[in-house]
Symmetry: C2
Subunit: 331 residues, 2 copies
């Protein structure tokens, strides 16, 4: 049967899984999908975190390259990453979806599977959204999160002398993207080297830990690459930074790929889509930062400086400016 | 100077006007544009209303037909209309904007003027958003509203015997759209007949009045047309409706247009984009509903029935089913 707007909305609502209603109530949702708007009850003593993110076919994913399941997972995961970057918990999300009629069946079902997986894993049920028709798939996700009032970690609190940390390994998503673009027929969507690109995991636990302990002076997530994002954190804080090259936890290039095609350092500096956290900690508190939280490594990579420039120091102590070569859609 | 993502974000933030920061604080925004996410403090005793809306070039507006100022106004006004439809107040909004580089100067400035006008008029400051590049302008607006806990008016509360009301005149937006499409060179963007289409005004005061007095048993806004939207309200409430044709407050066709080209009743039934309110009131409370609130007329047009069908009754008492011919992007 040909789908219309009402039946697509029903299909999307059903796609949220059998535990969707229970999770929705747990998230404080009194009215979810199906009315003019959702009704959500914030908790006393908490602030709401509001964020939205584009995820567009042609810009952020390609229909012939990316499985719809990945699109479903990633559109939510990357928006939730902004909540992690404030030190908050995700509570619920709104999905705005535009798609061609040809994708309202199999593609949509698989997309909703990935979205449902992310929604379950990140404890963030769907609250509502908007659906329309378009030749290409357009996605916009709004996430509502929460944190204790006054505990959110902003970009603006870094001070000279603070240590700079990152979670995970940088450049892994870029590595996956390049492998996917290589057209290697032996790659399956289960290939471990592709997972960070296809199914990134926002660092909610690390962010919440840092907010709870009041350990981080500033934080943001790495969505466009360290060389784009670190200057933003510095600008917001009115400071500079010195990064030590040999401390950066770079993506590990697999043996079969070590043909000089992949520059791990360059991918770690300029690759986007990692959704790792970048944060700063006052010198006196550095020892309180664990080496890892769960499976997620935490690595000190440098120091905040008073001089408003971002520099890279190599193993010989030589410094050069960090050039902003990360992702910018208008470049 | 060529704009990049950072400078476009600054341009957008500045476009929110000199009173933007003051209004933002008033709305409970502790952190707005510029961080990973916004921080918003809900008021004690209130629920949050969450809604988002597409506004896409090619679908919802045309670059060569619609002034950018109208696009800026309308993208926010129509999203706020969902808050009015719950009986709430708008608090703040997130703007997701994708646009080609050629529109980052004059077009964007004019768009932001219209958006700023709506933001001021609707008391709804910008809290944040996301910007990227795209060949066509894509807009998604998320609005966060509030209402006293338990006072929101849902679609699902209509009961047999309830009176059905609408605000304003129906079909006015469709009339404006058709005039605009007619290519009449004498039309200016100030032409009164175009205003409802270009600059719709969400019925926040009427919605809030009904919620405060607990007068409406069900409510929604008319975005796709009465013939599409009334069946949705009926389905959500598990009821039917009988509308009296001669009671429908139809758009008034100007003398110069009375050439048979414009069917006021058809436009009132099937025309979208009016953003008037459709609501139901228990019979015993009908006398408590005013004839108008401010400049906005309120008209009783029919009655909720137990039989689950939506019928139109003409002046001779003859009934026929109301055919769903409103806007459906998948039709």
């Amino acid at each position: 049967m040909k789908k219309n707007e009402n039946s697509i909305l029903e299909f999307i609502a059903r796609g949220q899984g059998s535990d969707g209603a229970g999770r929705a109530r747990g998230a404080g949702l009194r009215v979810g999908i199906g009315d003019d708007a959702a009704l959500w009850r914030p908790r006393a003593g908490y602030e709401a975190i509001l964020t939205c993110d584009w995820f567009l076919e042609g810009n952020h994913f390609l229909a012939d390259l990316h499985p719809p399941r990945s699109a479903g997972w990633k559109c939510l995961a990357r928006a939730v990453s902004d909540v992690a970057a404030m030190g908050g918990e995700a509570r619920c999300f709104l999905l705005s979806l535009a798609l061609p009629e040809s994708r309202t069946e199999k593609w949509l079902a698989s997309f909703l599977e990935g979205l449902g997986d992310a929604s379950g894993a990140l404890d963030c049920p769907m609250a509502g959204g908007d659906t329309t028709r378009r030749e290409q798939v357009l996605i916009n996700v709004t996430v509502i999160g929460e944190c204790h009032h006054g505990r959110a970690i902003l970009r603006s609190g870094a001070r000279p002398g603070d240590a700079i940390f990152v979670t995970g390994r940088l450049g892994e998503a870029e590595y996956g993207l390049r492998l996917l673009h290589s057209g290697d027929k032996r790659l399956t969507m289960r290939e471990p080297r592709l997972q960070k690109h296809l199914y990134p995991v926002p660092r909610l636990e690390v962010g919440a830990f840092l907010a709870r302990r009041r350990l981080a002076t500033a934080m943001m997530d790495l969505s466009d690459g360290l060389s784009s994002d670190l200057p933003r954190l510095c600008a917001a804080s009115g400071v500079g930074a010195r990064i030590e090259l040999d401390r950066i936890p770079c993506v590990r290039i697999a043996k079969q790929d070590s043909s000089g095609k992949f520059d791990a350092l360059q991918m770690a500096l300029d690759g986007g889509d990692d959704y790792e956290l970048l944060f700063t900690v006052a010198k006196k508190n550095v020892a309180l930062v664990p080496k890892a939280i769960g499976p997620v490594a935490i690595t000190q990579i440098g120091e905040i400086t008073a001089r408003e420039e971002v520099a890279l120091t190599d193993e010989n102590g030589l410094s050069r400016p960090l050039k902003n070569k990360g992702w910018d859609p208008f470049r």
